[in-house]
Symmetry: C2
Subunit: 297 residues, 2 copies
C-alpha cells in the first residue's frame, strides 16, 4: 500500500470496485461481487478490509459512492434535492478499524416526478470534470437507465426508466426466454423495433408476445428476437424521454455493449451523441469529490 493516500470506492447493488489512489493516479484496482444486495450494515467494513491488506497505521481516507449510502446500505447518506451540483459533501461513517476514515457521498432526489439516483450523480460529476461547461443531456443506460438534464454545472432534472431490468426479466424469466438468445444481435431488427415502439409505444406489450408467436410460427431467430426485444424497450423509452434528447447534445455513459445500441437509436433520430466509459466517469467523479473535500478541510 506504499504511496497510497486515499481509496476510491464505487459500491453498487451487485458489485464493488475499489481503487487505491496516489493523488489522482490509480495504483491498484480491485473488485468484488459483495454488492449492497447481499450485505447487512455490519458486513461492509470486513469486505473493505479484505480488499485492503497492509493498511498503514494512519487513518486512510476512503470515499464511497453508490448504494452503500442507501437506507438499506452501510449507513444512509440522505439525498440532496435537484436542482443541485453533483454532491461533494460526504457523510462520515464510523469504522471499528481506526485505520479507515470512511465517507459516503449522498445520492440525488427529485420530488416530482418522484425519482432517485445513487452512483450515477458521481458519473455525471466525472463527465463534468472532464467536460467543464457541458450543457445538455447525459444518458446513463443500465438496469435503471437515467436521463439527466445538466445546465450550468447543475443537475436540473432527471428521469429513471426500468428498461434494463425489464429486458433482463423478459429475456430470462418470462415466456420469451424460449425465443430470445442470451447473446447475438441483429442491427436491422433493432433499428426497426426502435422505430416501431417510438411510433406505437402502447403496442409494446403485444409486440413482446409477437416475439414468441413469430418464433413458433415463422421461425424468428433468437438473435433477431433479442435485438427486437431490446429495440422495443429502448424505443418506448426514447418516446418518453424525447423532452430530454430533442434538440440537445447527448452524452451516453455506459459499458460499450449497452451504450452502443443507445447511440445507434439516438443517431437514427439525428441526435449528436458522445460516448464515455461509465467506470472511468465514476472514478473521475470520485477524484473530483476528493479534491473538493480536501480543498475545504
Amino acid at each position: 500500500m506504499s504511496g497510497i493516500d486515499w481509496i476510491a470506492v464505487d459500491w453498487g447493488s451487485s458489485h464493488l470496485r475499489v481503487w487505491g489512489m496516489a493523488g489522482d493516479a490509480v495504483v491498484f484496482r480491485r473488485t468484488s461481487d459483495a454488492g449492497m444486495g447481499r450485505l447487512e450494515p455490519d458486513g461492509y467494513e470486513p469486505v473493505l478490509l479484505a480488499l485492503l491488506p497492509d493498511l498503514p497505521d494512519a487513518p486512510l481516507p476512503v470515499l464511497i459512492c453508490g448504494m452503500a449510502g442507501s437506507r438499506q446500505g452501510w449507513r444512509e447518506a440522505p439525498y440532496i434535492a435537484v436542482p443541485c451540483a453533483p454532491p461533494v459533501k460526504a457523510i462520515a461513517v464510523p469504522a471499528r478499524d481506526t485505520r479507515l476514515a470512511v465517507r459516503i457521498l449522498p445520492g440525488i432526489m427529485q420530488g416530482s416526478p418522484a425519482d432517485v439516483m445513487r452512483g450515477e450523480e458521481t458519473q455525471v460529476a466525472g463527465f463534468l470534470a472532464l467536460n467543464p461547461g457541458f450543457d445538455g443531456v447525459i444518458c446513463l443506460p443500465g438496469t435503471h437507465t437515467k436521463w439527466v438534464h445538466v445546465s450550468a454545472g447543475e443537475i436540473v432534472s432527471f428521469r429513471t426508466f426500468l428498461t434494463g431490468e425489464l429486458f433482463a426479466l423478459l429475456s430470462t424469466q418470462s415466456v420469451l426466454r424460449h425465443s430470445v438468445a442470451a447473446e447475438g444481435w441483429d442491427d436491422a431488427a433493432f433499428a426497426e423495433a426502435v422505430a416501431r415502439a417510438q411510433t406505437r409505444p402502447a403496442a409494446v406489450a403485444a409486440d413482446l408476445f409477437s416475439l414468441r408467436a413469430e418464433g413458433l410460427l415463422h421461425g424468428l431467430s433468437p438473435d433477431t428476437a433479442r435485438a427486437r426485444l431490446s429495440g422495443l424497450l429502448i424505443g418506448m423509452e426514447l418516446a418518453a424521454a424525447k423532452p430530454y434528447w430533442l434538440g440537445q447534445p447527448v452524452a451516453v455513459l455506459g459499458a460499450p455493449q449497452i451504450a452502443g445500441p443507445y447511440r445507434a437509436a439516438l443517431q437514427a433520430q439525428g441526435v449528436p451523441v458522445t460516448l464515455a466509459d461509465a467506470e472511468r466517469m465514476t472514478l473521475e467523479g470520485l477524484k473530483a469529490a476528493h479534491r473538493a473535500m480536501k480543498g475545504t478541510e
Copy 2:
C-alpha cells in the same frame, strides 16, 4: 365412475382441471398442479390415470383443451388459422391404457401480426354456445391477456398482451417488489393510473420506477403501489387494444379478481361490459366440442 360417459380436461401450463361428465352434467371435478410446464410427453397419461381411479373397461372418451396440445406438450395438435370457428375437430392421442380414448383440441394461430392461443379458443366456444349470435369482442385477461374479435360465429382476429406476466415479474422479481404489496388495492389509484397510461403509454417504463421512488420519498403505500402498477399496465394495454374495444360490446372472461379491474377500466371508457366466469366457459366449450364430435361420429 358410474354414470360417467366422458371426461373433459383443461390442461394448461401450470394447472389441470378434470371433470367427470354424464352427458352435459358434471359428476365430479378434480384439479392438479401437474401443468404442461412440469411434464414430459410420457408424464401426461400417468397424471390423468391418477386423477381417474376406477375406470370402466370400455374406452372412455377424454377431450382435452390447452397447452397439452402444444409442441412441448403431450402431443402436438397443430394450430388452425383465423378466421375460423373455435375448433371442434380434435386429434387422437394413442394411450398405453386402452381404457382411455384421448383427444386434444387444436389451438388457433394468426399469421400477421403473429399470434397464437391454446385454451382460450375453448372459452370463446363456451361463451358462444351460451350466447349464440354474439358479435363483438371477448377479452380474456390472464398471464397472457387475449383480445378476440368474434363475428358470425368465427374468430376473426386476436391479439395477445404480456400484461399479466409483466405484472407478476415486476411485483415479485424487480426492484418494485420492495414497494408493491402482495395483496391490497386502491380503486382511485388504479383508475388514475389507467387514465395516465392510456394518455402517455410511452412513459410507463418511467412511471414504473416512480412507484419505487414515491415509496422511498413520499411514503407511497404498498396497496396503492400495487393498484397503480396494475393500472399502468392495463392502461397501456387498453391504449393498444382500442381498435378492439372501441364501439364494441365487450365480454370479459376471467376470474373475478382480474376481470373486475378490466371491467372498471373499460366502463370508465363508456364501454358496455359483460362478465363471464372463465372456468365455466372452458367447460361449456369442451361440452360444445364433445357434442359436435358426437354428431359427426
